[in-house]
Symmetry: C2
C-alpha cells in the first residue's frame, strides 16, 4: 500500500521503473476503479448509486483508495439538492503502455488510467525477425514516448501479438506466422525491461476489447470482432468478457475451410479462408492480376512500387478498376460465408469488421453482409448489425491498455 512512487531508481534496460505498487484490496475497490476508468471523474454520490454499498461502507472504500493514491479528490460535484458531494477520479499521473504487434507493423501508445491515448507511434516492423529484435524496437518506441514528456514511467503494459497466447502466463504458442516466438516468455521478459506488470494477449482479442471500451461495441454483451490484416482472426466476447478457449486459440478462423479443395494454405490444408482472403492473399492475387495484365491500374502500380499491397487494391478499386473490385468482392464473399456459419453458431448481437483491409471499405462490407444475411437464419440476423470498427489502428492499443488495467484493477 505504498502508493504511487515517483522514484526513478532505474531498473532494466530502458531505465523505466515500477511505479504503481498498490492494488485494490477487495472486489468493491476493484469495481470502483473500473467505474472511474470507464466513466471518468464522478461524485461519491453517483458512484454510490452504481455500487451495492451503504454510504458508510462506500466512504471507507473510497478513503482507502485515496490513501493508495490510485484515486485522487477532484473538487466538489454539482448539487443534487442536498449537500454537495465530492468528486473523485483516477490519479491523472497513472500511465499505461499499449503495444499492438502486427505482422508487418507495430503500434505503441501511452494512455492515462481512463485509457485515453496521450501519444501514439506506428512503425513498420517484421514479426518474423523474432521476439528479441521486435521488443528492442518496442522498447525504443516506448522510450521515445517517455522522452516526449508523456510519461515518467509506466504503471503497466498490455501487449498484443498476432498469434495464439497461453493466457495468463503470457507466452505465445505455435504462432503460424511467427517463427522464433513459440514459447518466448513475453510477459516475464518485458515486465523486467519495463519495470512494471505486463499482460499479453492475442492482437485480435485486444482489438475486440478496444472496440468494446471506446468503439462501436460499447453496449453489446456478446459480439464477434473479425480482424482482417495480414492474416485473419476473430475476437469472441461473451457476457462482456473475452473468450479465449481451452488452449488460447479461440477465434482462429483463418483456417476454417472456405473453399473445398481450394488454394493450398501454409497450414498444410487446402481452401482455408486465409489462403483465399487476407492482406497477404490479396497482395498475391493483385500481383498475379497485374502480371497477367488483367488490370492496367494494378500493373502501373506494380511497376511504380515493385510490390502490391491491400492499399494498392483499395486505391485501384476507388479509381473504378474492375479487377480490384472483383478481388475485394470475392474475398468478402468467402469471408462472409465463414462468418455466416459463425453467426448461426454463436448468435452474436454485433459483428465488427476491422484490421488493415478495412480500407477496402463498403465494397468489402457489402459482400460480407450479403453472405451473412443470406446464409444465416432470420432469427440470428434479424437485428444483427455488421459494421466496420470505429477505432481503426487505435483499437489494439486501447485494448492493450484495457487488458492491463483489468489486471491491475482486480483484487491483488
Amino acid at each position: 500500500m505504498a502508493g504511487i512512487r515517483r522514484a526513478q531508481a532505474g531498473r532494466g534496460g530502458e531505465g523505466l521503473v515500477r511505479r504503481m505498487t498498490a492494488r485494490p484490496a477487495n472486489a468493491h475497490q476493484a469495481r470502483l476503479l473500473r467505474l472511474l476508468r470507464d466513466g471518468g471523474p464522478n461524485s461519491r454520490a453517483q458512484l454510490g448509486d452504481q455500487v451495492d454499498l451503504s454510504r458508510s461502507k462506500l466512504a471507507v472504500e473510497v478513503d482507502r483508495l485515496l490513501e493508495t493514491e490510485l484515486v485522487v479528490a477532484d473538487g466538489l460535484a454539482a448539487s443534487r439538492g442536498g449537500r454537495r458531494s465530492h468528486n473523485i477520479r483516477l490519479n491523472p499521473h497513472l500511465r499505461f503502455l499499449g503495444v499492438d504487434i502486427g505482422a508487418t507493423s507495430v503500434d505503441v501508445a501511452v494512455t492515462n488510467a481512463e485509457l485515453e491515448i496521450l501519444g501514439h507511434i506506428n512503425q513498420p516492423m517484421d514479426v518474423r525477425e523474432g521476439p528479441v529484435a521486435v521488443f528492442e524496437q518496442v522498447l525504443s518506441m516506448a522510450a521515445k514516448l517517455r522522452a516526449s514528456g508523456l510519461a515518467e514511467g509506466f504503471d503497466g503494459a498490455g501487449i498484443g501479438v498476432p498469434g495464439p497466447v497461453r493466457f495468463p502466463e503470457g507466452i505465445p504458442v505455435a504462432p503460424p506466422i511467427m517463427p522464433g516466438w513459440d514459447g518466448f516468455p513475453v510477459r516475464e521478459a518485458l515486465s523486467q525491461d519495463l519495470g512494471c506488470p505486463v499482460m499479453v494477449d492475442n492482437d485480435v482479442n485486444l482489438m475486440a476489447m478496444g472496440e468494446q471500451h471506446a468503439g462501436v461495441a460499447r453496449t453489446v454483451a456478446d459480439f464477434l470482432c473479425v480482424k482482417i490484416g495480414t492474416g485473419i482472426g476473430c475476437g469472441i466476447v461473451v457476457g462482456g468478457e473475452v473468450y479465449r478457449g481451452t488452449t488460447g486459440s479461440a477465434g482462429d478462423i483463418g483456417h476454417i475451410q472456405a473453399v473445398p479443395d481450394g488454394r493450398p494454405c501454409a497450414c498444410g490444408n487446402r481452401g482455408c479462408l486465409e489462403a483465399h482472403f487476407s492482406g497477404a492473399a490479396l497482395a498475391r492475387d493483385a500481383t498475379e492480376a497485374a502480371e497477367q495484365r488483367l488490370s492496367t491500374e494494378l500493373a502501373n502500380r506494380l511497376e511504380a512500387h515493385g510490390t502490391l499491397s491491400a492499399v494498392d487494391v483499395s486505391a485501384a478499386a476507388a479509381a473504378g478498376d474492375a479487377t480490384a473490385l472483383d478481388l475485394i468482392r470475392e474475398g468478402g464473399n468467402h469471408t462472409g460465408q465463414v462468418i455466416a456459419g459463425l453467426v448461426s453458431f454463436f448468435n452474436p448481437g454485433l459483428v465488427v469488421i476491422g484490421g488493415g483491409v478495412t480500407g477496402l471499405g463498403h465494397t468489402l462490407l457489402a459482400a460480407i453482409r450479403t453472405q451473412v444475411y443470406r446464409g444465416s437464419l432470420p432469427l440470428a440476423t434479424g437485428n444483427l448489425p455488421i459494421v466496420l470498427g470505429e477505432l481503426g489502428p487505435t483499437a489494439g492499443v486501447i485494448g492493450a491498455a484495457r487488458l492491463i488495467s483489468d489486471h491491475l484493477f482486480s483484487p491483488a
Copy 2:
C-alpha cells in the same frame, strides 16, 4: 418460507399442486443447495470446507435451510478426528419433472432433488401436432408417473423443445420444424397445469446440461455438445454455463453450409448440414438407395416395414451393408467438416456427439474425428477428446431437471 407443503388442494387440470414454496434467501444458501444436489448428502464440516463461510455463519445458513425443509438432517458423519459432524441432505421428498420433447418422441421423467431418475417414460409423438396435443400427452405421462407412487406432486419442471426458445420467458420462437409453436407460452401454460415453477429451453442445451451434470462432460468448463436427431443442433457451454446467444438461437448449426450448391433445405438455402445429414436426411437417403436397389439389406427392410429410419441404417451397417456404411461415413464427413470449423473458432475442451443417430456409433464417430483432426489446427485439437455422450436418452431429462433446479436453487 412455509416449507414444503404436502397439501393436495388440486389446482389445474392434472390435480398437481405447488409444493416447494421456499427458495434460498441468499447466494450462500443457493451455493449449499447446489453442492448437496451435485455431491449428495454431506457433513456440515465438509460443506464448510467448500464454501467461504465461517463456522458460525455456515451454521446460521444451514439452520435456515433446515427450517425451510429444503434440507433435512441425515445422521452423524464419520469422525474427522474431533467431535462428529452432522450430515445434511436435500429433502428426499422433493420431486422434479424432466420433459424432453423431440420431433418424433417425448421423454418424461421424475427425479429427486439430486437429479437421480426415479421413473422414466418414452412415447412416440409428433411435434407437428402442435403444443396443445403434445402437452396433453406430456401431462398424462406425468400423471402416470405420479400414479405409480413416485411423486405426490412436482416441485418444479424443466421442459426441452426442439427449437430456439426465448429464454427466460420460456417461449419458442420461429421453430422451423414445429408449426403452431411460435410464440406459444409454454412456461406460463405448463406452470398453471402442473402447479409448479417451470423453465423451458432448447432440447440441445438440456442435453449439454445433462452430460455436464451426470455424463461425460462432468469436469469440463468449455465444451460443445452436438445432437444429431431428426435435426441437428449444438449446445455451447462457456465457463460451465449454457451460452444461448442474443436471441436464443446459438448452436443452430443445422443450417451452416456443408456443401456449396448442395441439396435444397427446408430453410430455403442449399447445402445446409441438416439437408445432408440428420435422422431425416439419413432416412431419405436410405429410402432412395433401397428404391434404386443399391442395397439388398435396405431394400428388404423397406419392404418389411414400409419406411426406413436411422435405426434401419444402423442395423444394415452392423450387418456389413456397404451402402449403409457409406451413408453413415458421408454424413459423418459433412458433420465433421462443420465441427472442424467450430473447433477452430471455439477451441473447446471436449466435443460430445449425442442424439438419436448415436446408434450409428463408431463408424459415425470415426468419420467426424477424421475431419476434425485433419481440418482444425493442432493447437485446438492436440488434447481434444471427441466422444459419444454417456447418458443416451436420459441426458435431456436430467438436463431438464438440472435447469429447473438451477432456477429454484437461486436466491428468490
